[in-house]
């Protein structure tokens, strides 16, 4: 494998693209930030890349619902190329608003597309407001290639709509039993709990989902915001924790070893 190439999607209101590209470059990838109009114009553009990241932000102002308008745009213009991207064994990462977009486009937890299969959604925090705070995340699946097995990580969330809900209990059971849950919110000692351990009231403390291949990951917390020591909220107390780089490093490593 030659140089790993990552594409970071831009669109109206996406605003974490620069630091996401920076994190990918720290991990050794070449990262390019590309506007969705360019991708729609040139549908074979994705062929040149092995990692696609939909970064955080407020795509289209989160109008109608978080990630809805961009998800709809992807569904109607880019769904084929993205499905092919997954079929080709490549990786997709959705962070915060990007996660919401992937769910609303029908690319997570399944890759079927559209509303028909959408049994899972991401909706308003129980608190009813946007919150920026740090959370511990415990990995739940060994399938997801972005995750370091058994490693708890510490990351910030910053969202108003991060509560994951399913349409019914069966859907939730399937998520659990089929290994779709990538991370859960836990406390420092790895235990699940109420607010603020679970910052948004997410069902079963779900923080992140992966698809059946383990090569698509969507997560509400921001791994790109903790890639250096001084971003830890308690670095002046000498505290460290496993950070967001593991996710980017694993992605790049996976591509190097498998594609």
């Amino acid at each position: 494998m030659g140089q790993v190439k990552a594409i970071v999607l831009r669109a109206a209101g996406i605003n974490c693209d620069a630091e996401t590209a920076y994190a990918l470059e720290l991990a050794g990838a070449d990262a390019e930030r590309v506007h969705i109009n360019k991708m729609i114009e040139n549908k074979s553009l994705l062929d040149d890349y092995q990692i696609l990241v939909v970064p955080g932000g407020f795509s289209y102002g989160d109008d109608v619902a978080a990630g809805k308008i961009l998800g709809n745009q992807i569904l109607h213009h880019l769904f084929g190329p993205m499905q092919k991207f997954i079929e080709d064994g490549k990786l997709i990462l959705g962070i915060c608003n990007g996660f919401q977009v992937l769910v609303k486009a029908g690319l997570l937890p399944g890759n079927g597309g559209g509303n028909a299969e959408q049994g899972v959604t991401i909706t308003y925090n129980d608190s009813g407001k946007f919150e920026d705070r740090w959370v511990y995340l415990s990995p739940q699946t060994e399938r997801c290639v972005f995750i370091e097995k058994g490693q708890q990580i510490y990351l910030p969330i910053a969202h108003g709509e991060g509560k994951i809900v399913t349409k019914d209990d069966d859907t939730l059971k399937t998520l659990e039993s089929d290994g779709h849950i990538a991370f859960k919110y836990v406390d420092k000692d790895g235990r699940q709990g109420d607010f603020p351990v679970n910052p948004n009231g997410s069902t079963n403390s779900i923080a992140a989902l992966t698809d059946k291949t383990g090569r698509v990951l969507g997560l509400m917390p921001h791994p790109e915001r903790f890639v250096r020591k001084v971003q830890h909220p308690r670095w002046t107390r000498g505290e460290t924790d496993a950070n967001g780089m593991t996710i980017f490093n694993n992605a790049v490593k996976y591509v190097q070893e498998n594609l």
Binding site: G13, N72, T121, E131, T236
Partner: protein, 960 residues
């Protein structure tokens, strides 16, 4: 054409977060008969798609398939309608509706054409309520009648949004023959806010031209000459009488805040008081700029929209500085009435302070977060004199290449407006914000409120930075107060410009040429572009769906010419427009107030006083606010606004790394204390500067690279006794900055912050000076935070504690003001700041906290609970200067003091570093979470569980 109505509700079993929020607020209003509130989103869509497609639109786009359900048409009224009230809230026609724009995009993506989309909110209020309760709920909670219409019941549809196109009718406003009384009447009648001398000056200009002015000419002059735009008060000549002694200023600003910067003449100041923001050096390649603006009057009328456009507007200042900076951090400082007021204590025409606060915070949150700019520093002050006149200060910091700090527009360049379209919103904003407010303002000036759409601004920012880096434009400025009138007028000041007003893209038909020209519609920038680069720059804008339109040309005749469909509607000399405003001479008076220190009895124990101060609104934790702001986007956060073992202690200042991959940082802080101004505004200003500097020093900022910004918010300065305090404050700015060697790089004033009540009484805000400050951090790895780190470490207080309880929070909780306002020994303060800064850079200090509001006791408590540790302190170690009483030692707010934690192994090196400064070891950090302070006699004057103190500190804003 079909008119489709969609209603989207939460599905049963899923929370209706919005409805529940409204329900809680209704209960807070004291209405107990409401049992529940359901909310729905309403979409009114004109399109020729058929019913099956309408179902797809509803199911696939408008509704979340998991947690929501939709109705096409009107939903069935709930069972027991007799006990339910339906209220719909629609935007007034012409108000920007961003969701509607996104829905159009979404339906277009689905392959259909849409004619028009409107959105609304519907509330079903279950339970019996009276007509007047319905009105109250609508007015206080659901709608803002500046921008929204309320429809009760389910019969009537909102008025059609379609407007007739405008046909040109040039209006002349004859003034050449008017008497003085008629000139004043014309100014008042047309909301020009021009005074008699200004009207006379304009009259003379047109008498000399031999013609009458058009409406647009007078409006343009009124905008350009407004207090908001030219700061005529601060630039006027002033005769000041201080305690009977006279002093004259030819130009107050030039002799104080501008003057000190000029005298200091720092080579790291790149562009100061010249552009939309002050620019200083960051590193060899990069410059950094900072601007702080106020948006007070709009936030009083529409707290959400006013604050949102306040932050949106100040972000465009760095974007419009030099050739355009990239915004990297926001700051927000607010002043409100105390939020626990009863409704009957609120003057007519004024919103409840709690509603203003919630609205302002949400507005800043939604705009700042959507822009992807971290909000890293701020403060909130409460005083009932801010009740009718809240202050909303929004700041923004941006970075740019050193080579892009100056503009160079030339004759022949095209004038291009980029970004949002122009509507009726914000007409007369600049003039309105320059006048007093009254209880009728709500209705008269509803049009002055601007409506923001952050995503339009974000899209514009994205393409402007690309065009800048490709070198495709020559100059850029923002459309702020005064709209295009100010932007084009300023950019063409030395050149001349001609603009074809009909080319300006409009949000909707019907605007006349004057409205188009002076509208303060948001999210617009003006750039000047060489003809040969037009195609290339338009390609960039098109590629991301950002509208840009050529509306005119810069000329070389030094005239501003405006045309509509080829017909000239205005011709003004640039020189008259920019320099014609008459110079004023004003009188200012200051007499020292006859105040006394209260006679408070000394006590054996001050636990209760500490708790009272901790839970006073000014000191209490603002975590409820801070967490709603994204303070980490862009990945540059180093010292966050909340810090300590539980991420909830109060940081002194923020540090961000604006360049990914560089260890260089910028520290950002503020200082302000209006209470001191009630004693002497001179010492208030000085304390604000000292505090802002201390805050920077505490986190590791360099002392030799501090830049300051001033924001004066005052009452009606035509009164000598109101202008006097302002002049005093400006003098202090000079006196402090010259010794600290901290230039002012930008500033702004907002005068006439007064409210005339229905009964004719006037409420004026207290004299308020906000000092914002930034400095450089060479290596962010050396920054420190304020939380106590480790049991066994030593605590020192550096600086003198004096008997300076005047204006303190200790006196405030006792209902007193006092007289002994904290003063500043400038030389000593500068020396102290420099040494502390060096000691932090040398790694000798483990934590550092500013000793300010609430004094030593509050500072120690905050350090202790932020670190999850305890503190034992002994007042014998405190360096005191004529401060014998225990309450003075505990709560005096003497300036220039730092509480410092030092590891035992650094004791000697630290002590050596502090040589010849007043400093003393006051105690140590302990394991047990208790604060114990013993007096010189050895009595425990404070002995309290810090968990209890922390609870008291967190309780006031423990809001949902």
């Amino acid at each position: 054409m079909n008119q489709w109505r969609f209603e989207v509700f939460s599905r049963e079993g899923f929370a209706d977060v919005h409805g529940s929020g409204v329900y809680e607020e209704i209960k807070e209003l004291g209405i107990s008969t409401v049992e529940a509130v359901q909310s729905a989103r309403v979409f009114l869509i004109e399109s020729d798609f058929d019913e099956s497609f309408a179902k797809r639109v509803a199911g696939e786009l408008l509704t979340d398939p998991v947690c929501e359900q939709y109705y096409i048409g009107r939903s069935k009224a709930p069972a027991g309608l007799a006990k339910a009230t339906l209220i719909e809230v629609h935007l007034k026609s012409g108000v920007t509706d961003p969701v509607a724009q996104s829905v159009v995009a979404g339906i277009t993506d689905m392959g259909a054409k849409v004619e028009h989309v409107r959105t609304a909110r519907k509330y079903i209020i279950l339970g019996t309520i009276t007509q007047s309760q319905t009105d109250l709920i609508a007015k206080r909670i659901l709608a803002n009648d500046c921008i929204e219409d309320v429809i009760v019941g389910d019969e009537s549809e909102p008025p059609s949004p379609h407007l007739e196109p405008y046909e040109l009718q040039i209006a002349n406003w004859p003034i050449r023959d008017l008497s003085d009384d008629d000139l004043v009447a014309l100014s008042k009648d047309k909301d020009l806010f021009l005074n008699l001398i200004e009207m006379q000056t304009i009259q003379k200009y047109f008498q000399e031209l031999g013609r009458e002015p058009t409406d647009i000419e007078l409006e343009t002059l009124a905008q350009t000459w407004s207090e908001h735009c030219v700061h005529k008060t601060l630039k006027s000549s002033i005769d000041l009488t201080v305690n009977g002694e006279e002093k004259h200023f030819d130009n107050l600003l030039k002799e104080t805040v501008f003057g000190v910067t000029k005298e200091l003449n720092k080579d790291w100041c790149i562009s100061v008081f010249d552009d939309n923001a002050g620019v200083v050096e960051f590193d060899d390649d990069t410059a950094i700029c900072f601007k702080v603006e106020t948006h007070n009057h709009p936030s009083a009328l529409d707290p959400y929209g006013g604050a949102a456009t306040g932050i949106g507007g100040v972000i465009r200042d760095p974007m419009g500085t030099g050739m355009g900076a990239k915004p990297v951090a926001n700051t927000d400082i607010f002043c409100f009435g105390e939020p626990d007021k009863n409704l009957d204590e609120i003057p007519k025409g004024v919103l409840h302070p709690r509603r203003i606060m919630k609205g302002v915070v949400s507005g800043v949150r939604d705009y700042g977060n959507r822009m992807g700019i971290p909000t890293v520093n701020g403060a909130i002050y409460f005083d009932d004199r801010y009740m009718a006149n809240p202050l909303v200060f929004c700041g923004n910091i941006g970075i740019m290449d050193r080579g892009k700090c100056f503009k160079h527009q030339q004759s022949g360049d095209l004038v291009i407006v980029v970004g949002g379209r122009t509507g009726r919103d914000g007409i007369h904003g600049a003039t309105f914000s320059s006048g007093q407010m009254t209880h009728e303002h709500e209705t008269i000036f509803s049009h002055a409120v601007q409506i923001g759409n952050a995503i339009t601004e974000k899209k514009m920012l994205d393409v402007i930075l690309q065009a800048r880096d490709a070198g495709l434009y020559e100059s850029i400025t923002d459309c702020g107060a005064g709209g295009l009138s100010s932007a084009v007028g300023e950019m063409g000041e030395k050149l001349g410009a001609v603009v074809d007003l009909e080319k300006i893209p409009l949000k909707y038909a019907g605007l006349n040429y004057t409205e188009t020209w002076i509208s303060e519609a948001q999210e617009r920038m003006v750039i000047s572009v060489k003809e040969e680069k037009l195609e290339a720059i338009m390609k960039i804008f098109d590629s991301e769906n950002v509208e840009a339109t050529v509306i005119g040309k810069f000329t070389d005749d030094k005239k501003l010419k405006l045309r509509y469909n080829g017909q000239q509607v205005a011709e003004l000399d640039m020189e008259f427009l920019h320099d014609g405003v008459p110079k004023y001479s004003r009188k200012a008076v200051w007499n020292d107030l006859n105040l006394n220190e209260p006679n408070l009895k000394e006590k054996d124990n001050y636990n209760d006083e500490l708790l009272a101060i901790m839970s006073s609104f000014n000191v209490a934790s603002k975590e409820w606010v801070i967490r709603q702001y994204d303070h980490e986007v862009q990945g540059g956060s180093v010292v966050k606004p909340l810090t300590g073992i539980n991420n909830d202690g109060p940081s002194d200042a923020a540090v961000v790394q604006p360049k990914l991959g560089s260890d260089k940082g910028v520290a950002i802080s503020c200082g302000m204390n209006p209470l001191y101004g009630d004693i002497d505004p001179y010492w208030m200003a000085m304390a604000g500067i000292d505090e802002a500097i201390r805050n920077l020093i505490c986190v590791g900022g360099r002392f030799d690279r501090i830049a300051l910004l001033d924001n004066f918010c005052w009452g009606d300065c035509t009164r000598p006794e109101t202008l006097g305090p302002l002049v005093r404050a400006a003098q202090a700015c000079y006196d402090a900055a010259i010794v600290f060697e901290t230039p002012f790089i930008s500033g702004k004033d907002s005068l006439n912050n007064e409210f005339v009540c229905e009964d004719g009484t006037t409420i004026s805000i207290p004299s308020t000076l906000l000092i914002s400050a930034m400095s450089l951090v060479d290596d962010v790895n050396k920054c420190v935070t304020m939380d106590a780190k480790k049991a066994g470490n030593f605590l020192f207080v550096v600086g003198e504690t004096k008997n300076e309880l005047g204006g303190s929070h200790y006196y405030k909780v006792k209902g007193e003001l006092g007289a002994n306002v904290p003063k500043v020994n400038l030389e000593l303060s500068a020396k102290t700041a420099k040494r502390i800064s060096e000691a932090i850079i040398d790694g000798l200090i483990t934590s550092c906290h500013d000793c300010s509001e609430g004094g030593l006791a509050v500072g120690l408590a905050e350090m202790g609970f932020a670190g999850g540790l305890g503190i034992e302190a002994d007042l014998r170690g405190l360096v005191k200067n004529d401060c014998p009483r225990v309450d003075g030692q505990l709560f005096s707010e003497s300036n220039s003091r730092y509480i410092v934690e030092v590891q035992p192994e650094n004791y000697d090196a630290f002590a050596k570093k502090m040589l010849n400064l007043p400093f003393g070891q006051i105690g140590k950090v302990t394991e047990e979470t208790k604060l114990v302070i013993t007096s010189e006699k050895g009595d425990a004057v404070i002995d309290i569980d810090l968990d209890l103190v922390k609870q008291a500190w967190q309780k006031p804003f423990d809001w949902q």
